[in-house]
Symmetry: C2
Subunit: 364 residues, 2 copies
């Protein structure tokens, strides 16, 4: 990685311009909502930073973590909520029901909280088949049982035909902060290693295949699963040396890295050749013209650890079923702050920028 140590004068100028723009808090100026506001990239960021965060200003929301913090009676809780609008409702490896459980559990796990309980809100479209609803209710119940959480409250609303798309779900999770965890984006320091818990892009690709969007004889299943067992193993293995965790959902690994680089004011360098991508996913990504680094995952996370425990953390991760292919993909740097640089497989170097637009709508 010697070629990344120094920047050319031209590179430095370009990066300087991008960096200055990036330091400003994003403004929300769009006249109407577009699909890109839901894609997890730049437009989502402008909506959050420009409209939502100022309106709901409080310390826990400002931290921009995957889950909010609530301390009451000496107990440290984490809360997370997610809406699910995935289309189609069912796909290889999962369905909206299992996804709604895993997605919310994982947001709790990312802040080092053991998932305890879920609530479920359903918006159903008039005319939805009772069998379809029944299958999703079963999927939710099974995923919750598999993750050892209870669904303790719920609500159901029905809207007229054509006012939804089968069903939309919102799950909200409550977790208990694990005392072994000292996770915070603010704790990232140059030298920290960046690990990936496994191969990327499967969820996004499985959804695209399920939509019959393109001809491909690939058997790709969503990676949707609970990440708590992996987080538990990491906390047991390296505990307080774990700096920060993010599941790479909407917008993929690239978006997660950009968000963190930006909020922590550090740089990140990623070695593209070390990022594990299955052949079938790589093939589909090429046909779609989407970099797998921007593709959604529902059971993969980016892990930041102190360099001295990187090997231990990797070993702990690889011992967890589903994380056998965990790898180190890069590290945290000081310069240029707020930016993610990619060392490409072809030996080049480029900025791995935020996602713009929404290449894969309604992926979760």
């Amino acid at each position: 990685m010697t070629n990344s140590a120094a920047l050319s004068a031209r590179e430095a100028t370009v990066l300087g311009i991008i960096e200055t723009a990036r330091r400003r808090r994003a403004k929300f100026r769009d006249p109407t909502i577009t699909m890109s506001h839901g894609a997890g990239g730049r437009a989502t960021q402008s909506l959050i930073e420009g409209l939502l965060a100022p309106a709901f200003a409080n310390a826990t929301l400002d931290a921009m973590a995957d889950a909010g913090a609530l301390v009451t009676g000496g107990v440290e809780l984490a809360l997370s909520t997610d809406a699910f609008v995935v289309s189609p409702l069912q796909f290889p490896g999962g369905s909206i029901g299992s996804l709604a459980v895993h997605g919310t559990i994982n947001d709790l796990a990312m802040v080092g909280a053991r998932p305890l309980a879920l609530t479920l809100s359903m918006i159903l479209e008039e005319g939805l088949g009772a069998d379809v609803l029944g299958a999703e209710v079963t999927a939710i119940a099974e995923a919750a049982r598999g993750a050892d959480v209870s669904v303790i409250a719920g609500d159901t609303k029905v809207v007229e035909r054509g006012r939804a798309d089968g069903m939309y779900l919102t799950t909200t999770g409550v977790g208990l902060r694990d005392p072994r965890a000292r996770l915070s984006p603010a704790s990232l320091v140059p030298g920290d290693r960046i690990l990936l818990s496994g191969t990327i892009g499967e969820h996004g690709t499985a959804i695209m295949l399920a939509r019959n969007a393109f001809e491909l004889n690939a058997e790709i299943s969503s990676d949707s699963c609970s990440l708590w067992p992996a987080v538990d193993a990491l906390l047991e293995g390296v505990g307080p040396s774990l700096r920060c965790l993010r599941d790479a959902t909407r917008g993929g690994v690239a978006s997660v890295l950009n968000e963190l680089a930006r909020s922590s004011g550090v740089a990140m360098v990623v070695r593209e050749a070390d990022v594990p991508v299955r052949d079938a996913v790589a093939g589909a990504a090429e046909i779609l013209g989407i970099d797998p680094l921007y593709m959604a995952n529902e059971g993969k996370m980016v892990v930041f650890v102190a360099p001295e425990v990187a090997a231990e953390a990797l070993a702990a991760l690889r011992a967890v079923p589903g994380c056998e292919q965990a790898v180190e993909i890069g590290e945290v740097r000081r310069e240029p702050p707020g930016m993610v640089l990619l060392h490409t497989s072809f030996g080049g170097r480029r900025v791995l920028d935020q996602l713009v637009g929404d290449p894969l709508p309604r992926i979760c």
Copy 2:
């Protein structure tokens, strides 16, 4: 009320038939979802009892309260979630944003939990005006501040034009069980008094007027507000003698009474003439052909108290702004179990049954 003490032979037979049918757990056999499954009446009950409760079987869901219970680290929490799909988004007295805050806070208050924090999930329709979104974000923030709760986590998804109706919201609330509260539907005993915290039917009527559904020169505003101050006053006034609370939302007062009579195995007698209804609401109800007892409220509750503290409870309630018109409307009886009887304003007596169908869809 001497005329209710004895039932005629014919009445006893009719009630016996209804009662037997009602004791059975409702089955969910409909082939598709209809608007009535979201109306809070009999179809909603069949969905909950026939499909959801068996799938998610656990003690807190089985209790069928407005909020689920979660005990962790010695702290007793309540969790509640609600989806909001009200149409139109704005109406006199409120909007989907303020409703989403009050609705969820009130579900916590009904189980005797002081609201602490909320999460917010938004499903936005592509093309929604940024001004409309901005107004609702402001409404949510203001309602939350007014109720002294923080919005500590959120999520936003966007669906294609025609796949929603402007916006749908889901709020989830966390509350702390108040140690003064001993609330439980199971605690209802014959002789308990039934109070109402104020006039009914305003929310449902305001929505219908906002839809221009019928010509009426009435100024009716939704009653949407936080009920926690009223619950706080009741707990302070009569504490453990408070048996049970229910906010009369979808399906109105009649649905709440039926649910509780059924789940507690008691009977209830309500004196129609004592139920406070504003003239404008009564007029609108007559035009619509809907009994105000079935109309939705978003800031009114039914209160069950031990008879010896009914006067104190009423005085405590009436001292709370917005509850000045609180009244006693009836009492809990032993026979016929599971049934609600109405002593009509005309001196008759009839069964006040569960809501069937959905006369006022998308009211919340």
